[in-house]
Symmetry: C2
Subunit: 331 residues, 2 copies
């Protein structure tokens, strides 16, 4: 029998259908496209093709835009939004429009084409998180940029256009709707209880201990109560903090360790699935300080979103999170 569940953080309803048949095709990811590595723009030695670097981790006194880096950040060659944009006037009767102001950057996560998060070291993943943090720190000094989303697409089925490990940073002039609705619910909860909604969820999840995949003093990794897709997993700092870019080096290194461990578990359980990873961090606003708790969401992309799911906004998921957490703990 199916069950309707509402995610406490986002307010999303999800239908769990554990009695549905689990077609092998639903859970066998399609093969990755064969990309000619010799044409990859992100490999070491092709810095001129990837673009002028905004940031790089270099330890050997190498010069900018030359080989010798471990992580490198460049502008997206086809940005959705640009810092050269002009917000302009917002209102035109019913039809609100703005210039495409924002930023869109690419974080190249390794100089080597064949690296992935399951083969990279904790330190190497920690350098990726460092690059995310430093770029947001820099961009948020521009008072027009008010909200930031980090996205990592792994595999063509997850929307990646390059096999080479990379992620993207998008800066918006307002909170995008996913962040806005999380913040709105967090503010409601704070107004009613004087507590952070996410802190309350962490406390309940830890006490219940049915959906926890891994945990230590700094970080909890869990299958959320109402997961959108099979094996959706969240990586959450235990201590309340609204902004990813304010995280300490120590916390980021702990998160990197858990992320690497999680990707290895997903790879073992689901045969190296394509996935999306998102960092949710608070908009730059005082109202967000108490009501938003930064975290990372990892969603394996095992099957396409159905027309019924997309058309209603209610996702249908045959794998209950309690079962997914058990599988990942055992992987």
């Amino acid at each position: 029998m199916s069950e309707l569940r509402r995610d406490p953080i986002s307010g999303r309803w999800v239908i769990l259908t554990p009695d549905h048949s689990r077609r092998p095709a639903d859970f066998t990811p399609p093969a990755a496209p064969i990309v000619d590595a010799s044409a990859c723009p992100f490999c070491e030695g092709r810095e001129a093709i990837a673009g002028d670097e905004l940031l790089a981790w270099r330890t050997n006194n190498s010069q900018p835009n030359t080989p010798g880096w471990q992580v490198r950040v460049v502008p997206n060659r086809e940005p959705a939004l640009r810092v050269e944009g002009d917000l302009g006037q917002a209102s035109d009767g019913l039809f609100q429009r703005h210039g495409g102001l924002g930023a869109h950057e690419v974080i190249i996560e390794s100089p080597r084409h064949t690296d992935s998060w399951s083969t990279m070291s904790e330190e190497a993943i920690g350098r990726v998180l460092w690059a995310w943090r430093v770029r947001i720190e820099d961009l948020q000094r521009d008072f027009r940029l008010r909200s930031f989303v980090i996205v990592k697409n792994h595999g063509a089925a997850a929307g990646a256009r390059q096999d080479h490990a990379h992620s993207q940073l998008v800066a918006y002039p307002f909170p995008p709707s996913v962040i806005e609705s999380e913040l709105a619910r967090g503010m409601q909860h704070f107004a009613a209880t004087q507590k952070c909604l996410f802190c309350d969820v962490i406390r309940e999840e830890a006490a219940l201990n049915q959906r926890v995949i891994a945990a230590d003093e700094q970080v909890i990794v869990l299958a959320p109560f109402a997961p959108r897709v099979p094996f959706e997993t969240w990586v959450v700092p235990r201590e309340h903090a609204p902004h990813f870019h304010s995280a300490s080096e120590g916390l980021l290194q702990a998160v990197a360790k858990h992320l690497r461990d999680l990707i290895r578990r997903l790879d073992a359980a689901l045969l190296k699935p394509p996935f999306n990873l998102w960092v949710h961090t608070a908009p730059i606003s005082d109202a967000a300080r108490e009501a938003f708790h930064w975290h990372i969401e990892v969603l394996p992309r095992l099957r396409p979103v159905s027309g019924v799911e997309w058309g209603s906004g209610v996702r249908v998921n045959p794998i209950p999170p309690e079962e997914a957490a058990q599988v990942l703990r055992d992987s």
Copy 2:
């Protein structure tokens, strides 16, 4: 240069990027899967496989669950929600859950495997709309079912699991989030202006006449101001009406004519694209009467949703609706 636009109906922000390169692969739909028609459960003569009919259009005194029908409605064999469900108690601290109460039906739109909306007659499509209407009319008598969504997936890339023309009706015990947020904005607008938001949009669109694809006295077909995907199109009754299931025969026949015409234009412009079609109709509630305006949304499914779009809720679309409307008018 890109532009940020907010859809007045849903409140969704969209980024239009007309300067992005339009990769051929982005707009060439993948080939449909080859399905063995001899195994299709929806073809005439296989009524026992498709299931016991809830409704059928029969003109020749043929018996239920035998050949001789033009449209046939059966229960979904793997329903997301069931009328046998029990809503149960809602609250469990932070974690809200319900039994999977609802309904999930399949409308088989033609007895013939090779039919599609571009080859079917206006009258045949009209019979599909009739079946949608009659089934919602029937289900809404169950006071536990409060909101209905009709979904048509055409093509594997749009999530269809059968090539045979069909659609789905899902009944929910509460408005799913897509309907809930449309209703919330409609109620805000009504409270502020005493007018229907959609009626205001129709009036502005008709006056502006930049995004109108077709129109007559009863129906307007338009590219919305902030389309989520290239060539998104809405088919809207001009007169205010909250509920699809209250539409007259005459209006449904006019809508059928415009839908057939639209699918033919999309087929010509985009080489028979996969698409999703949704009927948005008001929840069964007095509050919805003045604030919700039923309509149909058609979204070609030309490329996957990217990780950046999914992770932010802000879609990126390289084709401005003014250009899409021009292309479809000329097709």
